[in-house]
Symmetry: C2
Protein backbone atom coordinates (compact mmCIF):
# COMPACT_ATOMS: atom_id res chain seq x y z
CA UNK A 1 0.00 0.00 0.00
CA UNK A 2 1.29 3.42 -0.95
CA UNK A 3 2.12 5.85 1.83
CA UNK A 4 -0.66 8.31 0.99
CA UNK A 5 -3.19 5.50 0.77
CA UNK A 6 -2.16 4.21 4.15
CA UNK A 7 -2.50 7.66 5.64
CA UNK A 8 -5.93 8.07 4.07
CA UNK A 9 -7.06 4.74 5.41
CA UNK A 10 -6.11 5.40 9.00
CA UNK A 11 -7.48 8.91 8.86
CA UNK A 12 -10.79 7.61 7.56
CA UNK A 13 -10.94 5.12 10.40
CA UNK A 14 -10.27 7.83 12.97
CA UNK A 15 -13.01 10.06 11.61
CA UNK A 16 -15.42 7.16 11.20
CA UNK A 17 -14.87 6.09 14.78
CA UNK A 18 -15.71 9.53 16.10
CA UNK A 19 -18.78 9.83 13.92
CA UNK A 20 -20.07 6.38 14.74
CA UNK A 21 -19.59 6.76 18.48
CA UNK A 22 -21.39 10.08 18.30
CA UNK A 23 -24.17 9.33 15.85
CA UNK A 24 -24.52 5.56 15.53
CA UNK A 25 -23.83 3.01 12.87
CA UNK A 26 -26.15 4.50 10.28
CA UNK A 27 -23.97 7.56 9.72
CA UNK A 28 -23.81 8.21 5.99
CA UNK A 29 -20.73 7.13 4.09
CA UNK A 30 -20.76 10.48 2.30
CA UNK A 31 -20.62 12.26 5.63
CA UNK A 32 -17.68 10.19 6.78
CA UNK A 33 -15.85 10.90 3.54
CA UNK A 34 -16.60 14.61 3.80
CA UNK A 35 -15.34 14.90 7.36
CA UNK A 36 -12.22 12.95 6.44
CA UNK A 37 -11.55 15.44 3.60
CA UNK A 38 -11.57 12.58 1.15
CA UNK A 39 -13.59 11.82 -1.95
CA UNK A 40 -16.50 9.47 -1.43
CA UNK A 41 -15.05 7.14 -4.04
CA UNK A 42 -11.83 6.96 -2.03
CA UNK A 43 -13.70 5.86 1.06
CA UNK A 44 -15.55 3.22 -0.95
CA UNK A 45 -12.26 2.04 -2.43
CA UNK A 46 -10.84 1.34 1.03
CA UNK A 47 -14.06 -0.03 2.42
CA UNK A 48 -16.42 -1.20 -0.32
CA UNK A 49 -19.34 -1.70 2.06
CA UNK A 50 -20.47 -0.31 5.38
CA UNK A 51 -19.78 -3.69 6.90
CA UNK A 52 -16.21 -3.64 5.66
CA UNK A 53 -15.72 -0.28 7.33
CA UNK A 54 -17.17 -1.57 10.58
CA UNK A 55 -15.12 -4.71 10.47
CA UNK A 56 -12.01 -2.53 10.39
CA UNK A 57 -13.42 -0.33 13.15
CA UNK A 58 -14.13 -3.07 15.66
CA UNK A 59 -11.64 -5.78 14.80
CA UNK A 60 -9.24 -4.85 17.58
CA UNK A 61 -12.09 -4.73 20.06
CA UNK A 62 -13.25 -8.15 18.97
CA UNK A 63 -9.76 -9.57 19.16
CA UNK A 64 -9.54 -8.33 22.72
CA UNK A 65 -12.95 -9.85 23.39
CA UNK A 66 -12.08 -13.31 22.16
CA UNK A 67 -8.79 -13.19 24.01
CA UNK A 68 -10.72 -12.31 27.13
CA UNK A 69 -12.74 -15.45 26.58
CA UNK A 70 -9.54 -17.50 26.60
CA UNK A 71 -8.45 -15.95 29.88
CA UNK A 72 -11.83 -16.44 31.50
CA UNK A 73 -11.93 -20.05 30.45
CA UNK A 74 -8.84 -20.91 32.47
CA UNK A 75 -9.00 -18.50 35.39
CA UNK A 76 -12.65 -18.43 36.47
CA UNK A 77 -15.40 -20.78 37.44
CA UNK A 78 -17.54 -21.73 34.43
CA UNK A 79 -20.60 -19.71 35.40
CA UNK A 80 -18.64 -16.62 36.37
CA UNK A 81 -16.65 -16.90 33.16
CA UNK A 82 -19.80 -17.08 31.05
CA UNK A 83 -21.46 -14.13 32.76
CA UNK A 84 -18.29 -12.05 32.66
CA UNK A 85 -17.85 -12.72 28.97
CA UNK A 86 -21.46 -11.80 28.35
CA UNK A 87 -20.88 -8.60 30.23
CA UNK A 88 -17.81 -7.75 28.18
CA UNK A 89 -19.89 -8.23 25.06
CA UNK A 90 -22.56 -5.86 26.31
CA UNK A 91 -19.91 -3.26 27.05
CA UNK A 92 -18.61 -3.65 23.51
CA UNK A 93 -22.15 -3.31 22.13
CA UNK A 94 -22.63 -0.17 24.14
CA UNK A 95 -19.47 1.41 22.80
CA UNK A 96 -20.40 1.02 19.12
CA UNK A 97 -24.10 1.74 18.78
CA UNK A 98 -25.74 -0.27 16.02
CA UNK A 99 -22.92 -2.69 15.38
CA UNK A 100 -24.68 -5.58 17.13
CA UNK A 101 -27.59 -5.37 14.73
CA UNK A 102 -25.16 -5.53 11.82
CA UNK A 103 -23.41 -8.54 13.30
CA UNK A 104 -26.66 -10.32 14.04
CA UNK A 105 -27.70 -9.87 10.43
CA UNK A 106 -24.28 -10.90 9.08
CA UNK A 107 -23.50 -13.93 11.17
CA UNK A 108 -24.94 -16.43 8.68
CA UNK A 109 -23.86 -14.59 5.55
CA UNK A 110 -20.40 -15.74 4.41
CA UNK A 111 -20.21 -12.85 1.96
CA UNK A 112 -20.38 -10.27 4.72
CA UNK A 113 -17.17 -8.59 5.78
CA UNK A 114 -18.29 -9.20 9.34
CA UNK A 115 -18.79 -12.93 8.92
CA UNK A 116 -15.42 -13.99 10.32
CA UNK A 117 -15.80 -11.68 13.30
CA UNK A 118 -19.21 -13.12 14.05
CA UNK A 119 -17.88 -16.63 13.81
CA UNK A 120 -15.10 -15.80 16.27
CA UNK A 121 -17.52 -14.36 18.80
CA UNK A 122 -19.87 -17.27 18.26
CA UNK A 123 -17.09 -19.79 18.82
CA UNK A 124 -15.85 -18.11 21.97
CA UNK A 125 -19.39 -17.95 23.35
CA UNK A 126 -20.07 -21.57 22.56
CA UNK A 127 -16.88 -22.72 24.28
CA UNK A 128 -17.77 -20.92 27.50
CA UNK A 129 -21.33 -22.17 27.30
CA UNK A 130 -20.38 -25.82 26.81
CA UNK A 131 -17.97 -25.61 29.70
CA UNK A 132 -20.64 -24.20 31.99
CA UNK A 133 -23.12 -26.79 30.81
CA UNK A 134 -20.69 -29.61 31.53
CA UNK A 135 -20.52 -28.44 35.13
CA UNK A 136 -24.28 -28.15 35.38
CA UNK A 137 -24.08 -24.38 35.70
CA UNK A 138 -25.87 -23.43 32.48
CA UNK A 139 -29.09 -24.85 31.13
CA UNK A 140 -28.46 -27.67 28.73
CA UNK A 141 -31.41 -27.01 26.43
CA UNK A 142 -29.64 -24.26 24.52
CA UNK A 143 -26.71 -24.15 22.13
CA UNK A 144 -24.23 -21.60 20.82
CA UNK A 145 -26.72 -20.19 18.33
CA UNK A 146 -29.21 -19.51 21.09
CA UNK A 147 -26.57 -17.82 23.19
CA UNK A 148 -25.45 -15.67 20.27
CA UNK A 149 -29.09 -14.81 19.69
CA UNK A 150 -29.68 -13.74 23.27
CA UNK A 151 -26.45 -11.75 23.28
CA UNK A 152 -27.47 -10.03 20.06
CA UNK A 153 -30.99 -9.32 21.27
CA UNK A 154 -29.78 -7.74 24.49
CA UNK A 155 -27.11 -5.76 22.65
CA UNK A 156 -29.73 -4.45 20.26
CA UNK A 157 -32.13 -3.60 23.06
CA UNK A 158 -29.78 -1.54 25.16
CA UNK A 159 -28.71 0.38 22.07
CA UNK A 160 -32.15 1.98 22.16
CA UNK A 161 -32.04 5.16 24.23
CA UNK A 162 -35.26 4.25 26.02
CA UNK A 163 -33.87 0.96 27.31
CA UNK A 164 -30.29 2.01 27.96
CA UNK A 165 -31.02 3.16 31.53
CA UNK A 166 -32.13 -0.34 32.51
CA UNK A 167 -29.29 -2.06 30.70
CA UNK A 168 -27.73 -3.59 33.79
CA UNK A 169 -31.01 -4.95 34.98
CA UNK A 170 -31.97 -6.38 31.59
CA UNK A 171 -28.56 -7.99 31.45
CA UNK A 172 -29.27 -9.62 34.78
CA UNK A 173 -32.59 -10.98 33.53
CA UNK A 174 -31.06 -12.57 30.44
CA UNK A 175 -28.15 -13.95 32.43
CA UNK A 176 -30.69 -15.60 34.73
CA UNK A 177 -32.24 -17.28 31.73
CA UNK A 178 -28.93 -18.89 30.84
CA UNK A 179 -27.57 -19.99 34.19
CA UNK A 180 -29.18 -22.70 36.26
CA UNK A 181 -28.69 -20.75 39.49
CA UNK A 182 -29.38 -17.07 39.79
CA UNK A 183 -26.15 -15.17 39.13
CA UNK A 184 -24.83 -12.79 41.72
CA UNK A 185 -22.20 -11.04 39.67
CA UNK A 186 -23.06 -7.62 38.24
CA UNK A 187 -25.87 -5.42 39.53
CA UNK A 188 -27.79 -7.82 41.72
CA UNK A 189 -29.84 -5.09 43.33
CA UNK A 190 -32.85 -7.27 42.67
CA UNK A 191 -36.15 -5.80 43.64
CA UNK A 192 -34.76 -2.49 44.77
CA UNK A 193 -35.74 -0.41 41.76
CA UNK A 194 -38.89 -1.85 40.32
CA UNK A 195 -42.14 0.03 40.01
Amino acid sequence: MRADAKKNRSHILTVARELVIGHGADASMRDIARRADVGLATLLRHFPTREALFEALVCTNLDALTQKADELETSNSPDEALVSWFHEWVEFARSYRGVVAMMAAAHTNPDSALYASCAAVHAASARLLVRAQAEGMARTDMNGDDLFGLMSALGWLIDLPSFAPRADHLFHLIASAILTSRPRAFSDQAGSDRA
Copy 2:
Protein backbone atom coordinates in the same frame (compact mmCIF):
# COMPACT_ATOMS: atom_id res chain seq x y z
CA MET B 1 -63.53 12.30 4.01
CA ARG B 2 -64.50 12.34 0.36
CA ALA B 3 -65.43 9.06 -1.30
CA ASP B 4 -62.41 8.93 -3.62
CA ALA B 5 -60.07 9.76 -0.74
CA LYS B 6 -61.56 6.98 1.33
CA LYS B 7 -61.11 4.55 -1.51
CA ASN B 8 -57.50 5.66 -2.00
CA ARG B 9 -56.81 5.22 1.66
CA SER B 10 -58.08 1.69 1.89
CA HIS B 11 -56.41 0.71 -1.36
CA ILE B 12 -53.09 2.06 -0.13
CA LEU B 13 -53.44 0.02 3.05
CA THR B 14 -54.18 -3.14 1.09
CA VAL B 15 -51.14 -2.70 -1.12
CA ALA B 16 -48.93 -1.67 1.79
CA ARG B 17 -49.95 -4.75 3.76
CA GLU B 18 -48.98 -7.06 0.91
CA LEU B 19 -45.69 -5.30 0.34
CA VAL B 20 -44.76 -5.20 4.02
CA ILE B 21 -45.61 -8.83 4.62
CA GLY B 22 -43.51 -9.75 1.60
CA HIS B 23 -40.57 -7.39 1.95
CA GLY B 24 -40.48 -6.08 5.48
CA ALA B 25 -41.08 -2.75 7.13
CA ASP B 26 -38.41 -0.87 5.24
CA ALA B 27 -40.25 -1.02 1.93
CA SER B 28 -39.95 2.36 0.27
CA MET B 29 -42.91 4.72 0.44
CA ARG B 30 -42.43 5.47 -3.24
CA ASP B 31 -42.77 1.79 -4.06
CA ILE B 32 -45.98 1.51 -2.07
CA ALA B 33 -47.40 4.55 -3.83
CA ARG B 34 -46.38 3.19 -7.21
CA ARG B 35 -47.99 -0.18 -6.67
CA ALA B 36 -51.13 1.49 -5.40
CA ASP B 37 -51.31 3.57 -8.60
CA VAL B 38 -51.25 6.71 -6.56
CA GLY B 39 -48.98 9.73 -6.47
CA LEU B 40 -46.33 9.66 -3.76
CA ALA B 41 -47.70 12.92 -2.41
CA THR B 42 -51.11 11.31 -2.03
CA LEU B 43 -49.66 8.52 0.07
CA LEU B 44 -47.83 11.04 2.25
CA ARG B 45 -51.02 13.06 2.64
CA HIS B 46 -52.85 10.07 4.09
CA PHE B 47 -49.89 8.85 6.12
CA PRO B 48 -47.38 11.63 6.73
CA THR B 49 -44.77 9.26 8.15
CA ARG B 50 -43.90 5.61 7.86
CA GLU B 51 -44.99 5.16 11.44
CA ALA B 52 -48.41 6.61 10.67
CA LEU B 53 -48.82 4.09 7.88
CA PHE B 54 -47.82 1.24 10.14
CA GLU B 55 -50.08 2.41 12.89
CA ALA B 56 -52.98 2.11 10.47
CA LEU B 57 -51.72 -1.26 9.26
CA VAL B 58 -51.48 -2.93 12.65
CA CYS B 59 -54.08 -1.13 14.75
CA THR B 60 -56.68 -3.86 14.35
CA ASN B 61 -54.11 -6.51 15.22
CA LEU B 62 -53.10 -4.59 18.32
CA ASP B 63 -56.69 -4.08 19.36
CA ALA B 64 -57.20 -7.82 19.12
CA LEU B 65 -54.02 -8.31 21.10
CA THR B 66 -55.01 -6.07 23.98
CA GLN B 67 -58.47 -7.61 24.03
CA LYS B 68 -56.84 -11.01 24.23
CA ALA B 69 -55.01 -9.77 27.31
CA ASP B 70 -58.34 -8.94 28.93
CA GLU B 71 -59.66 -12.40 28.23
CA LEU B 72 -56.53 -14.11 29.49
CA GLU B 73 -56.60 -12.08 32.67
CA THR B 74 -59.95 -13.52 33.70
CA SER B 75 -59.92 -16.99 32.23
CA ASN B 76 -56.42 -18.35 32.84
CA SER B 77 -53.96 -18.85 35.65
CA PRO B 78 -51.60 -15.88 35.97
CA ASP B 79 -48.53 -17.64 34.64
CA GLU B 80 -50.31 -19.26 31.73
CA ALA B 81 -51.96 -15.96 30.89
CA LEU B 82 -48.63 -14.15 30.84
CA VAL B 83 -46.93 -16.75 28.66
CA SER B 84 -49.90 -17.00 26.30
CA TRP B 85 -49.98 -13.24 25.88
CA PHE B 86 -46.26 -13.18 25.24
CA HIS B 87 -46.77 -15.86 22.64
CA GLU B 88 -49.54 -13.88 20.93
CA TRP B 89 -47.18 -10.93 20.76
CA VAL B 90 -44.49 -13.01 19.12
CA GLU B 91 -46.98 -14.24 16.53
CA PHE B 92 -47.90 -10.64 15.82
CA ALA B 93 -44.24 -9.68 15.49
CA ARG B 94 -43.72 -12.53 13.08
CA SER B 95 -46.58 -11.44 10.86
CA TYR B 96 -45.29 -7.89 10.35
CA ARG B 97 -41.56 -8.07 9.96
CA GLY B 98 -39.78 -5.00 11.28
CA VAL B 99 -42.68 -3.48 13.14
CA VAL B 100 -41.36 -4.48 16.56
CA ALA B 101 -38.21 -2.49 16.00
CA MET B 102 -40.32 0.54 15.11
CA MET B 103 -42.46 0.12 18.21
CA ALA B 104 -39.44 -0.36 20.46
CA ALA B 105 -38.00 2.89 19.14
CA ALA B 106 -41.32 4.75 19.39
CA HIS B 107 -42.56 3.68 22.80
CA THR B 108 -41.05 6.65 24.65
CA ASN B 109 -41.65 9.21 21.92
CA PRO B 110 -45.04 10.89 22.36
CA ASP B 111 -44.75 12.44 18.89
CA SER B 112 -44.67 9.05 17.20
CA ALA B 113 -47.85 7.82 15.54
CA LEU B 114 -47.16 4.49 17.22
CA TYR B 115 -46.92 5.92 20.71
CA ALA B 116 -50.49 5.15 21.75
CA SER B 117 -50.26 1.61 20.40
CA CYS B 118 -47.06 1.02 22.33
CA ALA B 119 -48.63 2.36 25.49
CA ALA B 120 -51.58 -0.01 25.07
CA VAL B 121 -49.34 -3.03 24.64
CA HIS B 122 -47.19 -1.88 27.53
CA ALA B 123 -50.19 -1.47 29.79
CA ALA B 124 -51.65 -4.87 28.91
CA SER B 125 -48.27 -6.52 29.52
CA ALA B 126 -47.80 -4.79 32.83
CA ARG B 127 -51.23 -5.84 34.05
CA LEU B 128 -50.56 -9.51 33.33
CA LEU B 129 -47.11 -9.26 34.85
CA VAL B 130 -48.28 -7.67 38.09
CA ARG B 131 -50.98 -10.30 38.43
CA ALA B 132 -48.47 -13.10 38.00
CA GLN B 133 -46.08 -11.45 40.41
CA ALA B 134 -48.79 -11.13 43.04
CA GLU B 135 -49.27 -14.89 42.89
CA GLY B 136 -45.53 -15.51 43.06
CA MET B 137 -45.47 -16.87 39.54
CA ALA B 138 -43.28 -14.20 37.95
CA ARG B 139 -40.06 -12.79 39.28
CA THR B 140 -40.64 -9.62 41.25
CA ASP B 141 -37.42 -7.87 40.30
CA MET B 142 -38.73 -6.67 36.98
CA ASN B 143 -41.37 -4.18 35.89
CA GLY B 144 -43.49 -3.46 32.83
CA ASP B 145 -40.63 -1.67 31.07
CA ASP B 146 -38.42 -4.70 31.44
CA LEU B 147 -41.13 -6.98 30.10
CA PHE B 148 -41.75 -4.71 27.15
CA GLY B 149 -38.00 -4.68 26.56
CA LEU B 150 -37.72 -8.46 26.57
CA MET B 151 -40.75 -8.77 24.32
CA SER B 152 -39.26 -6.27 21.91
CA ALA B 153 -35.86 -7.90 21.94
CA LEU B 154 -37.27 -11.33 21.17
CA GLY B 155 -39.55 -9.92 18.50
CA TRP B 156 -36.62 -8.20 16.87
CA LEU B 157 -34.45 -11.30 17.08
CA ILE B 158 -36.85 -13.72 15.42
CA ASP B 159 -37.42 -11.21 12.62
CA LEU B 160 -33.90 -12.02 11.49
CA PRO B 161 -33.96 -14.90 9.00
CA SER B 162 -31.04 -16.61 10.71
CA PHE B 163 -32.81 -16.81 14.06
CA ALA B 164 -36.35 -17.42 12.84
CA PRO B 165 -35.92 -21.23 12.81
CA ARG B 166 -35.21 -21.26 16.55
CA ALA B 167 -37.96 -18.80 17.39
CA ASP B 168 -39.96 -21.22 19.53
CA HIS B 169 -36.95 -22.22 21.52
CA LEU B 170 -35.75 -18.65 22.06
CA PHE B 171 -39.25 -17.79 23.19
CA HIS B 172 -39.04 -20.57 25.72
CA LEU B 173 -35.72 -19.26 27.05
CA ILE B 174 -37.03 -15.74 27.56
CA ALA B 175 -40.24 -17.02 29.11
CA SER B 176 -38.10 -18.95 31.58
CA ALA B 177 -36.38 -15.74 32.54
CA ILE B 178 -39.69 -14.17 33.48
CA LEU B 179 -41.49 -16.96 35.30
CA THR B 180 -40.35 -18.31 38.63
CA SER B 181 -41.03 -21.90 37.58
CA ARG B 182 -40.08 -23.28 34.20
CA PRO B 183 -43.06 -22.88 31.86
CA ARG B 184 -44.47 -25.93 30.15
CA ALA B 185 -46.71 -24.24 27.61
CA PHE B 186 -45.43 -23.96 24.03
CA SER B 187 -42.62 -26.02 22.61
CA ASP B 188 -41.16 -27.58 25.71
CA GLN B 189 -39.10 -30.10 23.83
CA ALA B 190 -36.20 -29.06 26.04
CA GLY B 191 -32.90 -30.67 25.24
CA SER B 192 -34.16 -32.57 22.24
CA ASP B 193 -32.69 -30.37 19.53
CA ARG B 194 -29.51 -28.88 20.81
CA ALA B 195 -26.07 -29.44 19.39
